[in-house]
Symmetry: C2
Subunit: 334 residues, 2 copies
């Protein structure tokens, strides 16, 4: 499990496209108090609107890590970025990356990290020996976000639920299973990067036994209906043994993203299948609501869609971006 | 994907327990024409009853690999075994191991392999870049063995079906997904050792497009009802997109092995769940029979159990060890 040193300095490289800085914006929005500032090369034209702080200054002000907050072209660090990251290591910061390419590929970074005993952290990788799943019940309560597909709001919904629980004074912890989530939470495991035998075991490790009134809010991955990733989804569901699931859905999709030959399931069928599978490790599992990514709908369309779906499923339906997740948190009995 | 050089010389180390030589016996029984002989240290007391041939002689007679045919104590090669394996490498044989511990851990073997350009092959590992699953249909026919639990005959049943198809003059290939299966087939992937994101993609790679009348017989892994391994099972099911499944079951088990808190599903429910999940990538999937590991039953008990189950499920029921799999192969329409 990765545990990151906060607060962060966000590095933007020479970014010129806002969409390439998605990670940086996500960190700014979701853990603002953990972000001390931003730093970029002179060529960069995108800003997060944060204080501009050089790595050495950031280290002096207490920063723990410099985080690569942009997707580099081709998934590899351009040569021009390396000296800045090496400087940060020399200043004592860890370098944290969500890229597929490991930071250890860059000899200058390895050398600088060694000299200063700073760390190179690849949050997309999950190097460690993991236990296999046991299926044994643990104390504490758990909610898992699940989906009709990938990339439609499972992380966002989990973060919103965690915030809403905390705002009520409840004990709640967001449990990250993907790289952006790990950066936000400061810890977690990229569960799709572990060896297949250990998916459920990793999920068990990620949300350990806890106080009876504590909620782990587990970030879902993939979908049971995805031809590539359903195995990850099922292992995460079994290992998380959730008391509650929240189904995430984007009504503009008819088929699995990038797989136009595979239709999305109906929502009631999707819920039935998740509950059926989840009962293996938690017979009391129930669905507490549906989180819709309604960005394709106008406000009146969304209101109509929501009311209709609520009546149909007899469950709270909300869009975390439009009105929050209060009704779901209420249904959790929190 | 591992591709091994046959024929094999089987190395038995200093084995004194027959059960420790399971891999050696499996190879002798399932691919006798691929096994040239056996070799052991003087302390060994277990024999496969094969010709005793020294590694250098085996190489001269055309052997391609020496296979570690015993489970070493503690999962690590004892020091005393290393010189023999190094000799085999010097003679030009590859060394093949199904252990968790990689052969590269032993410097003497690495050195010997390098000198002679022989290979160290760890069939339990699956090092390679794999594609993610596509869910696209491929030509050819596929049958997958699935189970109510782990370790109850999925490999054995798949091998028996492959044999029966071949005996009928059909085109059929056994597709190995675990280490013993890989040793028998001479190729395959240990699917539980791949990174979780790629389970389905590996399964697609393992049974590529083929002639319309060719059967791939895919060795199943785990069980949808297993709290640790269901993710592997689901990804293998999706990627294999089987036209037919055969459910394997051991009637002496009431609960998942080593997980007494998790009950086995009823057989009709297990079949329903596998078909429901498999329809994602093959809407025409059907169950063609049930393979029972009846070793806990007397012959009359087995006959009674079989007849009752056949009537109940309206499917062929057989034990590959007691009477073969003809009725299942018939139901496949082969």
């Amino acid at each position: 499990m990765h545990t990151l040193r906060k607060p962060y300095l966000i590095f933007l490289g020479d970014v010129t496209l806002k969409s390439d800085a998605k990670t940086g914006f996500g960190l700014r929005d979701w853990c603002p108090t953990d972000v001390i500032g931003q730093w970029a090369l002179p060529q960069a034209t995108v800003s997060l609107g944060l204080p501009v702080i050089a790595p050495a200054d950031a280290a002096r002000r207490g920063a723990g890590s410099i985080v690569v907050g942009v997707a580099p072209p081709g998934g590899r660090l351009p040569e021009a970025w390396i000296p800045t990251l090496a400087d940060a290591l020399h200043a004592g910061l860890d370098v944290v990356s969500g890229m597929h390419t490991r930071l250890e590929r860059y000899p200058q970074l390895v050398e600088a990290a060694r000299e200063r005993q700073a760390r190179l952290i690849n949050v997309r990788h999950a190097d460690r020996d993991w236990p296999v799943g046991t299926g044994l019940r643990r104390s504490g309560r758990r909610v898992l976000t699940v989906g009709t597909d990938c990339a439609l709001g499972k992380k966002y919904t989990a973060l919103a639920i965690t915030r809403a629980l905390t705002a009520r004074g409840m004990k709640a912890t967001f449990r990250a299973t993907g790289q952006t989530g790990i950066l936000i939470a400061g810890q977690g495991v990229a569960i799709d990067a572990v060896v297949a035998d250990f998916i459920a075991g990793v999920a068990e490790t990620l949300s350990p036994a806890n106080d009876a009134d504590h909620w782990d809010v587990v970030e879902g991955q993939g979908a049971l209906f995805h031809p590539a990733y359903a195995g990850v989804t099922l292992g995460l569901l079994h290992g998380s043994q959730p008391d509650a699931i929240v189904l995430c859905h984007d009504p503009s999709r008819q088929t699995i993203e990038d797989h136009p030959h595979i239709a999305l399931p109906a929502l009631d069928e999707a819920i039935r299948r998740y509950l059926e599978a989840g009962r293996l490790t938690n017979p009391d599992i129930r669905c507490v609501g549906v989180a819709i990514n309604s960005s394709s709908l106008s406000l009146p369309e969304w209101a109509r869609y929501r009311d209709q779906l609520q009546a149909e499923l007899q469950l709270p339906v909300c869009d975390p971006m439009r009105g929050g997740v209060e009704s779901i948190v209420q249904a959790m009995g929190a």
